[in-house]
């Protein structure tokens, strides 16, 4: 400050609270001090409390045997496995139900969203009632209700409901389907599939280049479908059909063999998907309605075919509106899968945050693991969203 400055006559204390710039510094310093004091307070409390009961804060318990079973494990696991493996099994189960839920809810949600806009009054109303019912009832209730229906109303394995000519058995112990057994030659089919995808990417670029240069349009969709689906199928037959199925068989009181979807998984998966689908349907509807009708009319005026209007004009613009809220729904499905604990599906919260926590009494460490895993998911999705928004941002003047 210069000596000529009139404000210097005022005391520094006065300026700290009344000078606009200095006040902002004051407020920030006070806030940070309060927050640091708060953290110091709770951390010191935690340290004292942990010392009193002689616990400490260490993750070494993760290498002790877990001593409990998990009924659905996609990787090798038994009660002698360490706790970290139990956590891993839980994480995989969370991801499994989340990914399966995301796929199903997207399909159902887009379908419902489009039907909600249908000019057909009946389907429009039916979908409206469905969406309103689903959205206004807690997801936990949906999960419990679906679980109740699966467990209470489906028959015991002996009288299993058979669907699709003996390939799907519905029972209250789970859904049984044949398990595909791959023979070594299956690799060839997988490689063919990868080649198909690679070819499609190359072909799409090539077709665009040709179209830009000459105006000639290739049927990209059909050729890519052929490359991705037909080509692997041909290879599959050429390789001598290297795929057999292990069929579930009724032995004693339950089915043996085959692929089993446990009732908890089915209930959680269906309930989460149908719940989220209702939200996705509303997002899709809003996205399509956000595109002004003038866009369609303009495309038609340029002589673009209706199907290409949809794929080149409407959908790209609608997706810009749809994808941000859609991704937050995907995050929601992942977070809501933690309700699994209510019906005994062993996800990350039920394994490390539930049984392991109760057995070892390591609340702090277990909750730290659970919270940081969910935070990681959330940060990953946010990072994707930022990238996407940047890419899709309208370039304005």
């Amino acid at each position: 400050m210069t000596t000529a400055d009139t404000s210097s006559e005022r005391s520094l204390l006065y300026r700290l609270f009344n000078d606009k710039e200095l006040r902002s510094v004051t407020i920030q310093v006070i806030t940070m001090a309060l927050i640091l004091a708060f953290f110091f307070f709770i951390v010191s409390n935690a340290v004292t409390n942990l010392e009193t009961i002689g616990k400490g804060y260490s993750f070494s318990f993760l290498w002790d045997a877990s001593n409990y079973d998990i009924n659905q494990h996609l990787i090798e696991y038994n009660s002698q496995s360490p706790h970290w493996r139990a956590a891993l099994v839980g994480l995989i189960n969370t991801l499994l139900v989340a990914v399966a839920g995301i796929i199903l809810s997207t399909i159902v949600g887009f379908l419902l969203g489009v039907l909600r806009l249908s000019s057909n009054w009946l389907i429009n109303r039916v979908v409206y009632v469905y969406i309103e019912y689903v959205r206004n009832v807690p997801v936990l209730l949906h999960i419990l209700l679906v679980h109740g229906i699966v467990v209470n109303t489906l028959p015991i394995p002996k009288n299993a409901l058979m669907a699709f000519d003996g390939t799907l058995f519905l029972t209250n112990r789970g859904f049984y389907t044949p398990k595909p057994l791959f023979e070594p030659a299956m690799w060839a089919v997988l490689i063919a599939f990868v080649i198909g995808i690679g070819f499609t990417i190359w072909f799409k670029r090539y077709a665009k280049k040709v179209q830009d240069a000459t105006g000639k349009i290739y049927p990209v969709l059909w050729i890519s479908l052929g490359a991705i689906i037909l080509f692997p199928i041909v290879v599959f037959f050429l390789a001598g059909m290297p795929l057999t199925f292990e069929y579930p068989e009724l032995k004693g009181f339950n089915f043996k063999g085959g692929l089993v979807l446990r009732p908890e998984f089915v209930a959680l998966w269906l309930a989460l998907s149908l719940y989220t689908a209702a939200f996705i349907a509303e997002i899709v509807r809003a996205g399509i309605q956000a595109i002004s009708h003038g866009q369609t009319e303009a495309a038609f005026a340029l002589g673009i075919k209706p199907s290409r209007t949809m794929s080149l004009v409407i959908i790209p613009q609608a997706l810009r509106v749809i994808i941000p809220p859609l991704s937050s729904q995907y995050l929601n499905i992942t977070k809501n899968s933690s309700l699994a604990i209510a019906i005994g599906y062993m996800d990350i919260v039920a394994t490390i945050g539930g049984i392991s926590l109760n057995q070892t009494g390591r609340e702090m460490e277990c909750m730290t693991i659970v919270l940081s895993i969910y935070l990681m998911f959330s940060l990953l999705i946010s990072a994707f969203m930022n990238w996407y928004n940047k890419r899709m941002k309208l370039v304005e003047r």
């Binding site: 409390n45 309103e132 109740g148």
Partner: protein, 374 residues
């Protein structure tokens, strides 16, 4: 007989529209059978309804038993009526009071009823602005929460009731309403903090919001129920319900903050610049210029968050509080009524549907009322 009739040019009377284009027939043709796809969709939908609706209605109404003394009684009545047993609503009827009041002492239940009416009375002036004595009503709304708290908890002349006696729909309302009332101001503060020019403030708010939004509510409730005691000075105990209330409020405040941030960002920058050039201070410009507009834009989002919060109150059963679901499951322990979980779920679902749907409708009404554009 001649069917031809001639009119002078320009004098031809307007003919009525063809019958196939108006009335019920016209409506059905246009709305249900206008094209091949539409016909297919209509037929499929009718078939779907035919498959789903009759069994559902039978279960809920026609085959249901509304008064009986036990589940076997329900079965016997259904058998005597010559049909299979649908829902056994008698169970809900017998346990209705437990669903509403939880474990609250019977002789003190008038306090819950009174609180409920006080809450409604306090809500009216907040929700609708065309009622008489609104200004006095708003003062009442400000005091009401404290009166209700006193009524529910007791003390000062009333028999104290500990919070572990709270349960049923009453608990849902306590958690839901407290969360809603508490999270709005906190959410506004967080949103303003996130938009603030002070980096430290912004950082703190962002960290808080992103942390809360990144983890599921159930894990936060676990934190509240299992490890909060570690963070408090040795010897302090903390009421479980209070911990849940705090967590629920913080949780939804983070979501509200994001919704309001959306509203703040949607405002043109000229608004704050204009407020600055008028010489308004920060809080003045926020209170008079920015927030009224930002909140108006964010109403649908805010109400959606409230609905989400209200629905999330069901999660408290997982940490051992007895909301209607918990009460229902607890009363299933009675051997007379074993296995009636579906009835409970449907009953509670109806309760939530009614309350959440009305909230959604209110939000639509508010949006229309506040729409001041063209």
């Amino acid at each position: 007989m001649s069917t031809e009739q001639s009119y002078p040019v320009g004098e031809h009377p307007s003919l009525p529209p063809p019958t196939s284009e108006v009335g019920i027939i016209g409506w059905v043709r246009h709305n249900l059978f206008s094209s091949t796809t539409n016909i297919v969709i209509t037929v499929l939908t009718i078939y779907l309804l035919y498959v789903i609706l009759p069994p559902l209605l039978n279960w809920i109404i026609f085959d249901a038993v509304f008064s009986a003394d036990s589940r076997d009684d329900c079965r016997a009545i259904a058998k005597a009526g010559g049909h299979e047993l649908g829902a056994c609503w008698a169970f809900i009827g017998k346990r209705f009071e437990i669903f509403v009041y939880g474990f609250y002492p019977v002789e003190e239940r008038w306090r819950i009823n009174l609180s409920f009416f006080l809450m409604l009375a306090a809500l009216l002036p907040v929700l609708f602005d065309h009622i008489a004595y609104r200004k006095q009503g708003l003062w009442f709304s400000l005091i009401a929460p404290f009166v209700i708290g006193w009524l529910l908890l007791g003390g000062m002349g009333l028999t104290p009731v500990s919070t572990d006696k709270f349960g049923g729909f009453m608990l849902t309302l306590v958690i839901g309403v407290t969360g809603i009332v508490g999270s709005l101001p906190l959410g506004i503060a967080l949103a303003l903090g996130r938009q603030s020019h002070m980096p430290a403030m912004r950082m703190v708010c962002v960290a808080f919001i992103e942390f809360i939004r990144g983890v599921p509510l159930i894990t936060l409730l676990f934190v509240a129920s299992t490890m909060l005691n570690y963070f408090l000075p040795p010897g302090t105990t903390f009421d479980l319900l209070l911990r849940v209330l705090i967590m629920v409020t913080l949780f939804s405040a983070a979501y509200i903050a994001e919704v309001i941030r959306g509203g703040l960002q949607a405002l043109p920058k000229g608004q704050i610049e204009a407020a600055d050039s008028m010489g308004l201070k920060y809080w003045q410009s926020m209170r008079l210029i920015i927030l009224p507009q930002a909140l108006k834009i964010s109403i649908p989002g805010i109400v959606n968050t409230f609905i989400g919060l209200y629905k999330d109150t069901t999660l408290v059963i997982i940490i051992g509080l007895f909301d209607p679901l918990g009460m229902g499951r607890a009363s299933l322990a009675d051997t007379k009524w074993q296995g009636l979980s579906t009835e409970i779920y449907v009953f509670v679902a109806i309760f939530f549907f009614v309350s959440c749907f009305s909230m959604a409708r209110y939000s639509l009404y508010l949006e229309k009322k506040l729409h001041t554009g063209h």
